[in-house]
Subunit: 438 residues, 2 copies
């Protein structure tokens, strides 16, 4: 039993109760008892005040806790008025789900998907000073539950926003598979006339240390005002609230389970940074289209279920690879080791897969760097068997790309299109050196 | 056709030929024509001189190339004498394979596993001034071909070296699965009285930019002279030749396909750094045993084939998970997204697996950070189904650990031992902040 549990049971109150607390200095605090979370200290009770802010109270300072009557609904909310300022760029917020659209569930202590895209404006009314905000809810799903057909749905809604003349479209999305969806939109909508920004948050917007505010404000600014177009992920670039990164949609990965700066561009710098005063610093413009509402995008929104992604490990069971036969899978991406190698005990099953019409592609579980099957004799055997190496394409992007090629162009296009750069997924330049740390 | 190909065909010579080259300044160079490799420039012909060194010659400086008679075998080699200096610590080199034991195949331009552990001393005789070197060849395999039974074999040979009284044991190993084998040895030989060092190289020792020399020299120094014991990976800590990292065996990962500093400690700093003057800087000592030849190690060298590792992806086919039924797999490690989440369309098959007696564990494909299934309602469902989260254990280490538990203690020990720290595979401390870069 934790210290907080003991104090709650002593005063017969519970998480989610509205209470009146008397402290040792005589002062009175009223508010909602918040659940303990992974970052909270043992001896701190967190209370949500009527003004929406959370405060922490040291348990030793508490003299008494009593249940109290909460103020009326209105009193619990910050005053909110929907406003449209003339002359601002028009930005469409599309709600998909995830932590950025979540609140703490005071009963369970966990986080629930609950906030609509419209409510996000209520929480962050200042985004209305950056752009004229319109909202639309597509679905409300945690991102780990999304499937290729959801990518099609999101792509169609983004495209609808482009045709409706918006200056930027923002997708509010869970961070877990944000990288996969960013790759999907990068392939589905090429040469976009406007910025398409995917944004999420690592901590829900009602938490004291939430990254939602700065991420969303920056996303709205990039969507409405950036000089460049295309598909990007906009998230914290450091653990402090002063730098946001704009990552290319095909080269971004969630590399930390909980940090605010979990997302990293792989083998390249982010396309741009945004500081807390909303100054944009562009790192490079190669391959980046300018914002131009007269340009028509190439639109191919379908994604097939006939692609798969499998990670190799030493002693891997060949039967796992073989299991994809009978599932109508046409494209298999294997995450090899190092330069793209695979154990020799798999060579036979790989030959079988290829003979049965599966196109097999190789990426690396190293994450950074490019595969090369020409350096070692063992790699050249894989080439002879018929495996196709994918340069420095991320495994996740490769899986999405295979699903996209199958959805729109058919399996015959796989061998040509997969190893060809379409949306920045293979970079020919040397990796940017200062990106990785040691 | 490349510039080099043109010049070679002009003078009717080929890669691997021993030639005499006349330059525009009248000077004469004799040596073996080396193959172009991925790092060589378009207009540079690389020649291996009789003294073993490679030099690059600008094509525009070449006046003439003629085939010549190579010197006798002895002349091609640096003078080499096996020497044992009294009073030095005794270090055993165990040859497993990989690039560090490889040479360029001059005919194909690729790299072949070819050098024995004894020949390594011939290439790097100076390691004999650091320790009294003994060598033993266990096998000669690229590391992607290793299986759990190879880990057992390596563990047995290392243990034999400990019992024979060596002051340190070095395993010369391919880099592709070096992290997996390091984890395997960390579990198989606990409380080791001496340092057990795994070392590899990203470029073969006869290449101009090879990292083999500094890696091996540092490995020998740590094995023979470091004050600490245990299982470590010793590799470049930066892309220049002035810093080597000593990584804990259970928390190290190959994060780049080709860079010399490809290996990184995850969520912690390397245990120590070594500079080019062989000064050791120890970063922490928590959980690290001192070198003490009187200590008997805990030795459990078996590894089972009844564990598997599968990476989740959005829209993953449940049939791939189901394929492990019938393979007698008792432990499945799934790489979830973010805090360890999995798509809801897999819940049913996960229930089936657990009902059929498979123990299912969750790690994160984020690599950095720890899983936590208590934050979101979707995570709590996974807990209810019976999945066991593994903190910040690396997926690769988790797979190795499951194979080790099954090999030595049986499946009933999986639920208790898997989420319990044994060899540094789960750290409770906050991640070291300066390790990741943004």
């Amino acid at each position: 039993m934790s210290l907080i549990d003991i104090i709650l049971s002593k005063y017969k109150v519970d998480i989610g109760d509205y209470v009146k607390i008397r402290l040792s200095d005589g002062s009175i605090i009223k508010g909602l008892i918040m659940p303990k979370h992974i970052y909270s200290k043992e001896d701190i009770l967190v209370i949500k005040l009527d003004n929406g802010y959370n405060i922490g109270i040291k348990v030793s300072r508490i003299e008494d806790i009593k249940k109290d009557v909460p103020p009326t609904y209105e009193g619990l909310h910050i005053e909110f008025e929907r406003r449209y300022i003339q002359g601002l760029p028009r930005v469409l917020l599309l709600g998909v789900g995830g932590t950025i659209l979540s609140r703490v569930d005071y009963r369970t202590g966990g986080v629930k998907s609950a906030v609509s895209a419209e409510e996000i404006i209520e929480i962050l009314p200042e985004i209305q000073d950056i752009a004229e905000i319109h909202t639309r809810v597509i679905m409300n799903k945690y991102s780990e539950h999304l499937t290729p057909s959801d990518w099609s749905k999101i792509a169609n809604e983004v495209y609808r926003g482009i045709r409706e003349g918006y200056d930027g479209v923002i997708v509010l999305h869970g961070t877990d598979t944000l990288g996969y969806t960013a790759a999907a939109l990068s392939f589905a909508i090429q040469k976009s006339p406007i910025p398409i920004i995917l944004v999420g948050s690592q901590r829900s917007s009602d938490r004291p240390s939430s990254d939602a505010a700065l991420n969303l404000i920056s996303a709205v600014y990039i969507a409405g005002h950036a000089p460049f177009a295309g598909v990007y992920v906009v998230m914290h670039a450091s653990s402090s609230d002063n730098k946001i990164a704009v990552h290319l949609g095909t080269r971004v990965r969630k590399n930390h389970t909980s940090r605010r700066d979990a997302f990293q561009s792989i083998d390249i710098l982010p396309v741009a940074y945004v500081d807390e005063n909303l100054n944009i610093k562009i790192n490079y413009t190669d391959g980046i289209y300018k914002r131009d509402k007269n340009r028509s995008p190439d639109f191919h929104p379908k994604f097939s279920r006939n692609a798969a992604l499998i990670k190799f490990y030493p002693g891997m069971h060949p039967e796992i690879l073989k299991s994809i036969l009978g599932l109508n899978i046409k494209a298999l991406v294997i995450e090899g080791t190092g330069l793209g190698h695979l154990g020799e005990h798999l060579f036979e099953v790989l030959e079988t897969l290829i003979r049965e019409g599966v196109h097999v592609f190789v990426t690396s579980q190293c994450i950074w760097g490019r595969v090369n099957l020409n350096v070692y004799d063992t790699g050249r055997i894989l080439l002879k068997i018929g495996l196709i190496p994918l340069g420095n394409m991320l495994s996740e992007t490769a899986y999405v790309k295979a699903s996209w090629i199958l959805g729109n162009f058919g399996e015959d296009e796989l061998p040509t299109l997969m190893p060809t750069n379409i949306a920045g997924e293979i970079t020919s330049r040397s990796p940017v050196k200062d990106l990785r740390c040691i």
